[in-house]
């Protein structure tokens, strides 16, 4: 190629690139205009911790019958979400050092939707290499939105902490720093100085970073007098008292007002609904329900009757945490009641969203817990069996696998001594199913009886890698009507609020 021709060629490439820039710019602008139609003034993001598809189905059948629907199931948009995590020091998907971990914990999952990155189990607000990543709640706060974070767990627990802290290890909750619970040298190589946010106890972060304007949950014993002072200095109304370890009550919640409110209603996790329903005069019954906390949080953030309509909008995360904790325990009765309580919080959010007309509501989960399943009435699971199911087809040996399994699946009477909330309830080693009556069962049918129509069982006491359901309503919700990864939720929410680009 001769020099003059070459110079023209270079100029052509540069001009073409310029044209491309201009075109891309115009397209971006066009996208923005299009997306403005999907802009949400408010986003309410509700998640049932450990809530798999079967948790939803079982709760529907238990409380509304098979032909009924939970509130979340009445939402118009349905999707499903993959939840896998990665190993410590992994790269992101698509990079050469990507190293997946098929089953996530709540910390990695929360970081995925809060910050849009895959990270290792136990990590909060940092990627798998330990780099701090901003959260949607931080971005929303910076952009002028009001923010809220509500959970039935300790507020320092992984799911709420994933929006308002940055920690190498979810166990670094406070009140005290300890190297064992806060450092992770597998990720950082050497221990970080204690001035580093990533090893700062999560309670210390929450009490000082102002990321959430409204904070309701449990975990008062993570906080101390210095935290209370820091909260008050930022203008928080503090319900109860971290300094004296006085838990807040429903009464305190009802009378709360002001732009910033901090209320923790138990020193640890909040109490399961089933106990409060059965013991209405117990001190724990003074704890608010998730739906009461949700209603109050929305009222405080939206302004409601107080007429704070000058606000830009709000971003609120609500967690039904005990679905997971009671699934770990394979306690179906408590799990179902927590599902109902969570669905009632969804009802509160949906009632607001329908009135408001400009609120995106997302209901999903961080992962499935315990391989919860609905088994056919009168049948049993592998956990109750002496041997696995047979796998021999003597009529057509082409159907046999190697090695084939002759014989038949038999119930092992030492592993199944009866229904675990019925006749076998006294045997703690029992693998039997839990049975529950449903609305169409005759009135004489009792929970825990063989006659009850809903038979439930568990695979394990740990999380599984199953995809989780998603339900949505409002602006931008159509973007969720598909198979998603949990990191996609960061993009959808961030763009609905216009806080990411």
């Amino acid at each position: 190629m001769r020099a003059s021709t070459r110079s023209i060629a270079i100029a052509t490439i540069v001009v073409a690139a310029l044209g491309g820039t201009a075109t891309a710019s115009a397209t971006n602008q066009g996208d923005r205009d299009d997306r403005d139609s999907g802009r949400a003034k408010n986003v309410i993001y509700l998640l049932g911790d450990g809530m798999g598809r079967t948790h939803v189905t079982a709760a529907r059948e238990r409380f509304y019958g098979p032909a009924g629907k939970l509130v979340m199931e009445r939402m118009p948009v349905v999707g499903q979400v993959s939840t896998y995590a990665v190993q410590p020091r992994s790269g992101q998907p698509g990079t050469p050092d990507f190293a997946p971990n098929f089953v996530t914990d709540s910390a990695s999952a929360a970081t995925a939707w809060a910050s849009g990155v895959k990270t290792y189990n136990a990590a909060l607000g940092v990627d798998a290499k330990g780099k701090v990543v901003p959260t949607v709640m931080e971005l929303a706060k910076r952009a002028g939105y009001r923010t809220g974070n509500v959970s039935t767990a300790e507020i320092t627990d992984a799911t709420p902490a994933g929006q308002m802290s940055h920690a190498l290890a979810r166990g670094c909750q406070g009140p005290s720093y300890s190297a064992s619970s806060c450092q992770d040298t597998e990720v950082t190589g050497t221990e970080l100085p204690t001035t580093d946010i990533r090893v700062t106890p999560i309670a210390d972060q929450i009490a000082r970073n102002g990321t959430a304007d409204v904070i309701f949950g449990g975990g008062l014993s993570r906080f101390d007098a210095a935290d209370e002072k820091a909260l008050r200095n930022q203008g928080y109304q503090v319900l109860g008292s971290p300094a004296t370890q006085t838990v807040a009550t429903r009464r305190d919640l009802n009378s709360a007002y002001g732009p910033k409110v901090f209320g923790l209603f138990n020193q640890g996790n909040l109490t399961v609904e089933k106990f409060k329903i059965a013991n209405p005069s117990a001190p724990q019954a003074k704890e608010p329900t998730l739906s009461e906390m949700t209603r109050k949080a929305i009222g405080l953030l939206d302004g409601g009757k107080a007429g704070r309509s000058d606000g830009k909008g709000f971003y609120l995360q609500i967690e039904g945490a005990l679905i997971d904790k009671r699934s770990h325990a394979n306690d179906a009765a408590q799990t179902l009641q927590e599902m109902k309580a969570f669905d009632e919080a969804v009802r509160v959010a949906m009632d607001f969203a329908k009135r408001d007309g400009n609120t995106l509501v997302i209901v999903t989960a961080d992962h499935e817990c315990a391989g919860f399943n609905i088994i056919e009435k009168g049948t049993f699971t592998n956990a109750e069996a002496a041997t696995p199911p047979g796998n021999v087809d003597s009529g057509n040996t082409a159907n046999n696998s190697t090695p084939s399994r002759p014989g038949r699946n038999q119930l092992d009477p030492t592993r199944s001594t009866g229904i675990i909330n019925g006749a076998g309830a006294g045997d703690p080693r029992n693998f039997g199913p839990a049975t529950f009556r449903t609305p169409r069962d005759p009135a004489s049918v009792k929970d825990g009886s063989p006659e009850a129509s809903l038979w439930l069982s568990y695979l394990s006491g740990n999380h599984t890698g199953a995809d989780v359901p998603l339900f949505a309503y409002g602006p931008s919700s159509e973007r969720l009507a598909r198979s998603l990864d949990n990191t996609d939720l960061f993009d959808v929410v961030g763009q609905a609020l216009r806080v990411t680009r």
Binding site: V14, T135, S181, N269
Partner: protein, 180 residues
Amino acid sequence: MKRTTILVLAAAAAAFGLALAVSLLVTRSDTAPPLADAARTVLPGLSAATGEPVLPALATLRPAAGSVVQAPGPFDGRFVLDNLTFDGRRVAATVRITSDVSGLLELEALAGFYDAKGTLLGTGRYVRPDPARQGHAEPTAPAPGGAGAGEAHRVTIDVPAALRGRAVSAAIGVPVLVNE
């Protein structure tokens, strides 16, 4: 490179700069601060930790010679401490977690050792080995105390060598406890 080439490139660069400037003016969000700046990484007024967790109550307890007592801590509502023993060389106790919990993530115990007058001589620490920082899988071995007994963890803390023979009583408590 020829002079004509340089001229063409210069013109192109100028045009590109102009286009960029126009683009920045019309798309306001391109001038927004970087996303990463939104992360709250500085906490005004917080003094950084200078050591491992303490139990202030250890300094006020005066256990009688030969005895071992429980030192109050922030999580006393979440566990029962029993089978406390002290033989002059080590203190031991069983931490039985009683709160509504799933897997145990972190457990640390702290012991104080006292002389015959009940003066605190020094402390020793137990940090539960971390079987799996990854996730919170349940341990595969049966928990001590058997199924249904709740999570029970035997904790032992040796009297530091320098205090051997002088420590005649002990106190033990739990400054760190985290469940999944």
